[in-house]
């Protein structure tokens, strides 16, 4: 090792590390992974099924199924007369600082991951004269966290343990209607009912004196919002789209049980609390463009704005601080369709690629994901099978968090 390298390794690197640590703010506010933060990203706008996932989540401008109802209901008017779709996914997200992990209580040197299998979308659309109706249900947000458990062992026997776990979800049921307006426009509107829950538990156990300290928080969520969409055929090969989601109050019925149990001392102290809280979700709006380069090759782009500066949280009756600013998410994607003949059947094989940038709302750290997407599928007569995948890499938190998702969709169109 050269003297310069030695100098850097011995002095400069530690100095920089110390300087970075000193300049970092002490964090009560986790931002990226507040308890109510959805896994992967704060910026959810509908749900991308496999085809949309492969195109980089440019689902404001292009759809293959009734999931359009959640993002841009105007696109429903372009679907065949009857569609049924089912979609499932596996996602894995890595986290570093959340709840009591890496905030002073439990320490992890590496990022921790949480994986989630979910049947996350089911939908049906039906055209009646000029009108297309859709009923869809989607798992739009998940609040799961990597479980953390630590145990201290004295003389080969556990004498203390601590457990943290959290799980939760938000499900959206959407009822939408769309129609064509003249030859150039499609419009659509949807009403969305959200329901969900969150459960969080921290348990300390001291085995020697049989003392248990537990804190359990349960929340159930509900809310209603509307979404609107417009699609305009500008030229033969160019379409533009606009979509809007209204702000809404995600109401939460919250319960907390904080308990100290020491049977040997006859002590059982319970502090329980209940509250009707709310998470004031921001409005979001997006624009999209689709350009048909050729009959087999199309390009897509979308830009969505999320007004997170208006986000408000009331938790057990107190307004909580979230230092959020409004933000955006943008994506571009492409799709190539190839015809093929297998076992005497004509099939279409789409190939999809996408690239996205997803800026998270917290001001500190200024975190963003760059997302690469790819997908393909098999379309045979009225049956479609698609698969899409994404790999997102985060920058800003200093932890290089990642978010991966593989999605499989099955559809029927007639």
């Amino acid at each position: 090792m050269s003297r310069t390298a030695l100098l850097i390794r011995c002095f400069l690197v530690p100095a920089i590390l110390i300087a970075v640590a000193l300049s970092s703010p002490a964090q009560l506010v986790m931002g990226q992974y507040e308890d109510e933060a959805p896994l992967r990203t704060w910026n959810t706008f509908g749900l991308a099924t496999a085809a949309s996932t492969g195109r980089g989540e440019t689902n404001l401008i292009q759809t293959d199924d009734s999931s359009a109802a959640l993002a841009n209901p105007a696109l429903l008017a372009g679907l065949p007369g009857f569609t049924v779709s089912l979609s499932g996914s596996y996602s894995r997200s890595s986290l570093f600082r959340y709840s009591i992990v890496n905030t002073g209580v439990l320490v992890s040197k590496k990022n921790l991951g949480v994986g989630l299998f979910a049947l996350d979308f089911a939908g049906v659309s039906y055209r009646f004269r000029e009108w297309t109706f859709a009923l869809t249900a989607a798992l739009t947000e998940a609040y799961d966290r990597p479980q953390a458990y630590a145990e201290s062992i004295s003389q080969g026997v556990p004498d203390y343990a601590i457990l943290f776990e959290q799980s939760g979800f938000l499900r959206t049921v959407n009822l939408a209607v769309a129609r064509g307006v003249g030859s150039r426009f499609q419009v659509g509107i949807g009403v969305n009912f959200v329901r969900g829950e969150l459960e969080r538990r921290v348990v300390d156990e001291s085995f020697n004196d049989d003392i248990t300290i537990s804190h359990q928080v349960n929340q159930t969520f509900s809310g209603v919002f509307f979404n609107f969409g417009l699609l305009a055929h500008i030229r033969d090969h160019l379409d533009l789209a606009f979509a809007l989601r209204t702000p809404y109050e995600k109401k939460a019925r919250s319960r907390s049980e904080l308990r100290y149990l020491a049977p040997q001392g006859g002590t059982d102290i319970l502090i329980d609390a209940g509250s009707d809280d709310l998470y004031r979700q921001p409005w979001a709006a997006g624009v999209g463009a689709r350009y048909e380069v050729s009959a087999r090759f199309r390009l897509f782009g979308s830009l969505t704005y999320f007004r997170w500066s208006g986000y408000k949280v009331e938790y057990f009756g107190e307004e909580e601080t979230r230092d959020f600013g409004s933000t955006f998410k943008t994506a571009v994607g492409g799709e190539w369709s190839f015809g093929a003949r297998i076992f005497n059947n004509d099939i279409i094989l789409p190939l999809r690629l996408g690239l996205g940038y997803d800026r998270q709302p917290m001001r500190t750290p200024r975190s963003a994901y760059v997302i690469f997407s790819a997908g393909t599928g098999v379309h045979w007569r009225a049956i479609t099978f698609d698969i899409g995948s994404q790999i997102g890499r985060e920058s800003g938190s200093g932890r290089n968090l990642d978010a991966k998702r593989v999605c499989v969709s099955l559809g029927f169109k007639k």
Partner: protein, 433 residues
């Protein structure tokens, strides 16, 4: 045909925009109702005589106080009539109408930072003649460290005895916020009706800082109940400095009474007063001339006095012992609970860089750490049932009053004694309202 299409386009677009507008309207929050507060006033003949003409919406009477539902104009009327009141809305969320849905905070009857700030402001607003709030500084995460000064002529700095009560250096010791807060509340609300309290307040300047570690308390409430330190992000990635090891007398004396390891529960910080929270207390202490200090902690049910950093006795051991014994006896009279007493190092464990060693070591004043109940872990450790808050306060009240009165009787005037009031010297001194 063409015109029909056009008409359809316009109609549909109008419909879309109407739907957009409807959606926004439905999603917009409704206009909030007028804010109403529940306040309580002392039930005494004088107050009742002044209250009656106001024809306010009296709800009920409880523990010698009348509870009233008030609008903003009613509060103004109370102010104009010179009726001191305490805002009690937080106790009756279902009745207040302000937010009928909230039952209680996640920490039950204990104060969060926001609740404490709100209650201190309400106290100061209700008793402007004898209470004034000061912001001593800001915590690491920007929360205020608030002191309430209680004295007659509170806006003036009089040549009177000064006593300091501190709470919640350690985040998980929730009861240590309540006792000093309730002390302030008791002094203010009983000033007019209780001659002993009036005399104590008139002859002294009582400073109460119920929450020295607001960031830690919030973390303890929100994330982990047993959090102890402040929220300093240390250089090794661990969090927190033990604020009661960060004071400047005997700081880092050894590695038994405090720790140089950042992840330790008793990490003393990188230097004495490295933390803004302890500097806030230091600034107040330097500005004032306190004659006695109490810092509330839990648990152990014991009254501790210096030294903590060594088992050697101080040169005022007998005075400390005398005062502690008297306080302990007064406490026992209330609920029968026995508070042991003794030097910190001898009775509990070695501590260096703690509040009381510093107060005694630098100013030579009697300084006590009162470890509140329970006695041990099996009795609840850092947990106290909500129903125990008031009993613990009631037994600590006579001890606090005793120390205030002792300070008054031992106050040696070192300032001008002409009897004229000294103009407040604080502006620019570092204390902020």
């Amino acid at each position: 045909m063409k015109s029909n299409l056009k008409l359809l386009n316009i109609n549909a677009l109008v419909l879309l925009f109407l739907a957009l507008a409807l959606g926004f309207l439905l999603a917009s929050p409704s206009v909030p109702p007028e804010k109403k507060d529940i306040v309580s006033v002392e039930k005494s003949p004088q107050i009742m005589a002044r209250l009656q003409p106001l024809a306010l919406d009296c709800l009920f009477e409880w523990e010698g106080r009348i509870y009233i539902l008030t609008a903003t104009s009613d509060l103004e009327a109370l102010d104009q009539s010179g009726i001191p009141y305490t805002i009690e809305s937080h106790k009756f969320p279902a009745l207040s109408g302000e937010k009928a849905t909230v039952q209680s905070g996640i920490n039950g009857d204990y104060h969060s930072y926001a609740e404490l700030e709100s209650d201190l402001e309400a106290l100061a607003r209700a008793h402007p003649q004898i209470a004034r709030l000061f912001t001593l500084g800001l915590s690491l995460e920007g929360r205020k460290i608030t002191a309430v000064k209680i004295s007659d002529n509170v806006d003036f700095d009089e040549p009177e005895s000064e006593v300091l009560f501190l709470g919640c250096h350690h985040a998980r010791e929730w009861i240590s916020v309540e006792i000093p807060f309730l002390l302030a509340k008791h002094l203010l609300e009983n000033y007019t009706s209780n001659s002993a309290i009036r005399a104590a307040v008139d002859q002294s300047e009582i400073w109460i800082v119920p929450l020295v570690n607001p960031d830690g308390l919030e973390y303890s409430i929100r994330y982990y109940r047993y959090w102890r330190k402040n929220r300093r992000l240390n250089t090794d990635g661990s969090f927190g400095v033990d604020l009661n090891r960060n004071y400047g007398y005997g700081w880092a004396y050894d590695d038994k009474g405090s720790s140089p390891i950042p992840a330790s529960e008793i990490y003393r910080g990188t230097a004495a007063f490295s933390e803004p929270e302890t500097r806030a207390v230091q600034n107040l202490f330097v500005e004032r001339e306190f004659q006695a200090l109490v810092s509330y902690h839990s648990y152990s049910q014991i009254i501790l006095y210096p030294w903590g950093y060594t088992t050697d006795p101080t040169d005022k051991d007998s005075l400390h012992e005398l005062l502690a014994a008297e306080m302990s006896a007064l406490m026992q009279e209330v609920n029968g609970r026995v508070y042991a007493f003794g030097s910190a190092a001898g009775s509990l464990y070695l501590t260096n860089g703690d509040t009381t060693d510093w107060a005694f070591g630098t100013a030579g004043i009697p300084a006590f750490t009162i470890e509140l109940p329970p006695v041990d872990q099996l009795g609840g450790g850092f947990f106290n049932a909500e129903r125990d808050i008031m009993p613990i306060f009631r037994e600590n009240l006579p001890a606090a009053l005793y120390l205030i009165n002792w300070s008054i009787s031992n106050f040696r005037v070192s300032k001008p004694t002409s009897g004229e009031k000294i103009v407040d010297k604080r502006p620019g001194s570092g204390l902020r309202n």
